[in-house]
Point group: C3
Chain length 259, copies 3
């Protein structure tokens, strides 16, 4: 049984996700379809790229990861299939794979053009159903990557901000906010390894001293910084919503000072 994962901004109010699963099951009744999330903010390619990058490695080898956050659906943007050493990815060519592919060795990139594997009639607005899930299901049944279309060399990239070093200060950026309001930054644990165990993190108007291991290491309603479960510096507030507590949002900066 092959696995297809779905990461979309379709929400769970309508029937979009169910219909996509129906299409895949009609093509391959044995496929196992796993939801990563359907509640990516509408059209937020960056959020989807981040969520994919922290998800895909936890799945079995040869899982087919399908991402449909696709504001350009029906326009001239391409659909791409990417084979890495370990996984398959199927997505619009809008940069949504940028984060994930940084950590994978790419074996082939295909411009998915062969409409033999599309649902007909092809709509202009629901390629999640007509192209992505149909093609993924064919792939899961053993259709070869080559048969999907011609090989291409380059795909669109989105900018992934890196932490900046300005003399003694490391400047990080909030790249994701989870449902608990925890602020995930682009500072990974490797970037903090050069530091002495003592440093200060400036978040909004407040200073957090050093790292803790987990949320409950801080007193209730108190800010805490930790390396989160995906390896990134995360700012949280024990028992509260850090986004609301600090009034910060995605793209806002934090500063790390050596003591």
């Amino acid at each position: 049984m092959k696995i297809i994962t779905l990461l979309t901004d379709f929400g769970t109010q309508d029937n979009f996700v169910g219909v996509m699963k129906g299409v895949a099951l009609r093509i391959n009744p044995d496929v196992n379809i796993v939801d990563i999330s359907h509640n990516v903010r509408a059209h937020d390619i960056f959020d989807a790229a981040f969520l994919l990058s922290t998800s895909y490695e936890y799945f079995p080898k040869n899982t087919i990861h399908v991402v449909v956050v696709d504001p350009g659906v029906g326009s001239q943007r391409n659909v791409i299939a990417v084979k890495t050493t370990d996984y398959y990815f199927l997505a619009p060519d809008n940069g949504v794979l940028s984060f994930a592919l940084k950590k994978q060795e790419i074996e082939a990139i295909i411009n998915v053009e062969n409409d033999e594997y599309f649902l007909k009639p092809l709509s202009n607005t629901f390629h999640g159903r007509d192209i992505f899930c149909a093609v993924a299901a064919h792939l899961s049944k053993g259709v070869s990557l080559d048969s999907l279309g011609p090989t291409i060399k380059n795909i669109h990239q989105i900018h992934i901000p890196a932490p900046l070093r300005r003399s003694d200060v490391l400047i990080g950026q909030i790249v994701y906010i989870d449902r608990f309001g925890n602020l995930v930054t682009n500072v990974d644990k490797e970037a903090l390894e050069g530091y002495a165990c003592d440093f200060k993190i400036k978040v909004g108007d407040q200073i957090i001293h050093g790292l803790n291991k987990t949320y409950s290491d801080a007193p209730n309603q108190t800010p805490v910084a930790l390396i989160d479960s995906f390896g990134y510096l995360e700012i949280a507030v024990n028992g509260a919503n850090a986004k609301d507590y600090f009034g910060l949002d995605k793209k806002d900066l934090i500063e790390i000072f050596q003591c």
Copy 2:
């Protein structure tokens, strides 16, 4: 492996959906249960009917479609099982199958009365668990339709509004609003085929000129009309929520003028 789909207004906060799946798996451990949506507005039979009608055909033949939007649960309303050429449907007899059955040839309608296939003790308020999922699981295991109860001739219908033609004007109605705020009308693409390529659509106080292919054909924050992926005229606003933009809601009218 047989497929059961679920379309309900039970939401995903409580354990209702999980419990229904448990019941089905206890009866048939091999069944594959696929969610269409559990976020139909509470008791909104019309929304459920519309969502079912645009979903069921994408699933493999002989899929068992279960709809539990059932404000009359525990009262005298019947539970019906309908066999069409391609599918099985199981629902309360409240009209929720009206849209879907317009496009399917009906082979049999059964009044589901045989409590041999119900969960015991039978509750008065959760027939999704005690009747619908239990019976669907038995069906998926090969129990014959006939054994569920007597054949009946008629089932309840709900009114499905058709577009009205008034001299030169075609008057359509908003029948569904998706999570992006797109306004889906009851005007299907066949109804527009008689028109010259140029027509105007009056939506609220605004005029939209002709159809585009996809959302991004319109400038950002601009209204656009298109045939959606299920074949209906849809009013959207590129990059925005058309419901909020126009201040319109379900049942509101739009007008189509030949130029």
Copy 3:
């Protein structure tokens, strides 16, 4: 195919649930993972305990029920695996199993310590992924309970309020409010059996006379009391939200008077 159920407060916006499923499928590709709910209120152990207690029995024997509502993640709290006659339970030792285990005969309680079955590196903040789902998947593949860690005798309990009898009055408490706003109390149907068929229920400032069978037995917008599908006295308002109607919340009291 073994079944794992998941009951968490992780929500469905982020990728937490998808990642947990990936981990389980990597360990046991044949496991069937069923969501009970991921929308337990953040850190609400009581709600999770109640939902588990009304869910687990509907699943096939030997289902592995995993609960991750775990405000103490990464602190010194234990992870426990409990084997009852019919099921396996895996949860933080914070009392979340209290309701469910009242009705099951316990065969063994294990302090899950053997990190051989954990995902590495073990994070401090996402044991749902690194411990709970990994261990559950190993269990589903046949790993013995004994190999997970030492047997222990006692686990944490949370207080489950029982109805109080004060002379002629039975005082119940609201223990759960579902997505429709129905008020579920701790008064089970057995507690009401001693009563004559006529009694009055005081809810907020109003009196409800006796029980009805189902919501629609009451006129529209009218309060109704019934035994719900899990056997508890429930206060509802036909066609409306009882929580809003009465202005009541969890832990608020109701009173039952013999006539």
